[in-house]
Symmetry: C2
Subunit: 455 residues, 2 copies
């Protein structure tokens, strides 16, 4: 197959040593999620288009499928109605409705899968990317404490990953709405309008936002100033109540939201460290309409230009079949968004490019069968082993190991004994194939790099 | 989100308990592949269409992507050139060419990913499915012993999976070609023609095949009979040479292929058991033109109608950039094809529907924080734990665990001590949250079912 070969922009791929970092990250996420009793599911990669477009703002970015040589126009039309999912939340909602009779609620699931968006690629934005989501879905009701729980679980996972320090920013939709109502914003429509305009503060300047609040939502200058003032609060639990109360607004829903936000901060306090901060940030609103309680975003220190690497929130009605409503809360970690800049800058790397820990050297090609028995014996104790692909001079066989970062080369001796050499130090010792094991830190490839040293 | 919800034919999805079986299978495959020094890679899900269509017979089945609202016709045309990959071999060839300067050869990689084909769904044929491939790719040359190795590695993996007994059928393209040449089939074109026609023997009857060999390839009746006779040989190593020689045909390439086939059978002899047979089956040719040496297919006993669940072979030129050629050998295991009928018939199942091993019961909602500390202590020793979502009566909390198959419920006592109950037996004992661990077989969900009992 000869061809013009070039990477496709927005579709990242990793070399084997980089993939080892990604595997480590995925394994760690799975480990933490399962320790907390989240069950794995995978959903199909496609959803009916009409299903996906309910989240209207995203429709331009969907990849639609058609069969290359669909037989007739009707078939083309049917096939056109399938699109690749652009997140893991819409498929979850559909999966819950489809399988509600077979699931136990609250349903705790994690899902680590690829998603696709046809948008213009740039750092932090890909056309194909891996997400890792946790959600807790209730039937009809879902207690608030799960809003604390998912933040705790994701914070624990983030802390165990080889990342720069991260800052989780939490807010409450109830707090914001209660505050707006306290300021005198009366209708649901106006409240939603204020959220939508204020959410633009990271893109347009303060004066423009104030103008839009007056012109588009009909607020007085004083109301507009008050709404914008709330977004300036970014603080730890200790100062939050004073900062909010200092704005002089009161409303029962504001108090409820403030209380909930404090409970999230207090519930995650024991996880905070120099690697992970959790703060109240009252500018965080999340664009999507369906959030109704706690909302989460996360920034990575030094990589703030990526935007949020880990986001989510509480939704009172993600899915409903008319009779039953399924409220939930979830957080989604952007695996590709987070790792791509670290991998492409070499800030994290695998300690070797292969799982192999030991290369069994071959005195001659006739020894391949015996070498295979040595390898099988070592593998029986969980040691990844290869037999040398050729019986070249030992120097060449050692270089084969060196190029891949394989730490040990095993030498069968003429007298039937064995020696194993750590090729990093050159130390070579007698070894018994039925008993030898490497030091635990050499058994599997590990993650190295400057980011790791931050830990 | 209210909607008409229905499964999509050909896009299988699993419930959490079924997904546990799939995860077990994927974990086992990864474990075996890594023990043998195969490195993981993932390739992007899309390839340029022109790249995929080099394997001509498959073009009708590709899913093509377009952006839902692509801006102009030129963009539509560009986007149309991307299709979802239909296997993991074409992407591997492209990946090797694209990254040759960064890879070490022979390059040993495994790849576990989804693939898509727009064909009509039926049992064993899906539109979205997971494949698990191993390949060894050389630069310019690749020693024969890797053709033995990949069969050994995949046989070892298959033996460790919760499947009915499997039968791996091996053949050699060299043996077939040498035999045809010995019969007097002279040109490369005629040899390929015979292979193509003889490969139809599982679909059309013997007389029709004999007629096609005469009419389409121009063989004499005697030559056609001889070519068909070869396909009847299906035997173990002990009888293979006699069976082939008994046909009275000789050619140097036939001898070379026979010798290689015997080496594959001998190399896998130690892996054979009542769960796995490896036999020479001279009817196996594999449709694809690019195979040049050993070819592999695998049937699952009782599920022969699925076709081959695990197939591959040696190819001398999977990829070339004009200067360098990359020969390889690989086998691809159809994870979805194999598991779907076992899961949907309930022949295999997860022992529970969640990773959770222990549910910490809540005396009252005020005890949630303390229960969280007990849970964290257990998790610190690798035990998956949930805290009860509500402080209902203990009977209800126990039923929460029962419904999910969670084996243990933890009860904090009024006096500060603790008890843990195995809810399967009702046995309840004192326990220390800083020391207690469950029996190893309860720590994680396992795979159960009649298929498992065959092992």
């Amino acid at each position: 197959m000869a061809a013009r070969i070039a990477p496709l922009s927005g579709f990242p791929e990793w070399l084997p040593g980089q993939r080892i970092v990604e595997q480590h990250v995925l394994d760690t996420l799975r480990e933490v999620f399962e320790l907390h009793g989240f069950a794995s599911i995978e959903t199909r990669s496609v959803e009916p288009l009409e299903q996906m477009l309910r989240k209207g703002e995203i429709d331009k970015e969907v990849y639609v499928l058609r069969r290359l040589q669909a037989g007739d126009e009707a078939e083309v039309e049917r096939a056109r109605q399938l699109g690749l999912h652009f997140d893991l939340t819409v498929p979850l909602a559909r999966y819950v409705l489809e399988n509600a009779g077979h699931l136990d609620f609250p349903f705790r699931r994690y899902q680590i899968q690829k998603a696709w968006r046809g948008e213009r690629p740039q750092e932090g934005r890909f056309r194909e990317f891996t997400q890792a989501d946790i959600d807790v879905i209730g039937r009809d009701t879902l207690p608030f404490h799960h809003e604390v729980e998912v933040a705790r679980v994701m914070a624990e996972a983030l802390t165990r990953l080889p990342l720069p320090p991260v800052r989780m920013q939490v807010n409450s939709r109830k707090l914001i709405e209660g505050y707006y109502r306290g300021v005198g914003v009366e209708t649901d429509e106006a409240v939603a309008g204020v959220m939508r305009v204020v959410d633009k503060l990271d893109k347009v300047d303060r004066a423009t936002v104030l103008g839009m609040l007056a012109d588009e939502v009909g607020l007085s200058a004083q109301q507009a100033e008050a709404c914008v003032a709330l977004t300036a609060i970014s603080t730890s639990a200790a100062d939050l109540t004073a900062a909010v109360k200092g704005l002089g607004v009161s409303h029962p829903l504001l108090d409820e939201g403030l209380d909930e936000l404090l409970r999230v901060l207090e519930g995650t306090a024991s996880l905070q460290s120099d690697r992970l901060q959790v703060v109240a940030d009252l500018s965080v609103a999340r664009g999507l309409d369906y959030y109704t309680g706690t909302v989460y975003e996360t920034r990575m220190v030094g990589f703030e230009h990526l935007g949020s690497i880990c986001s989510g929130g509480r939704y009172d009605a993600l899915a409903t079949d008319g009779r039953t409503t399924y409220p939930g809360v979830g957080i989604s970690f952007g695996v590709t968004r987070t790792l791509a800049p670290l991998l492409s800058r070499g800030l994290v790397a695998g300690s070797r490019s292969t799982p192999t820990c030991v290369l069994v050297a071959l005195p001659s090609e006739d020894d391949r069968s015996g070498a295979g028995e040595i390898a099988a014996s070592l593998r029986g104790r969980g040691v990844p082993v290869e037999v040398s692909p050729t019986a070249q001079k030992y120097g060449k066989q050692i270089r084969y190991a060196e190029r891949r970062g394989i730490p040990y080369v095993w030498f069968p001796q003429d007298d039937g004994s064995h020696q194993v050499r750590d090729i990093r130090t050159g130390e070579q010792v007698d070894a018994d194939p039925s008993a030898w094991v490497p030091p635990a830190e050499d058994l599997r490839p590990t993650v190295t790099g400057t980011v790791k040293e931050l830990r």
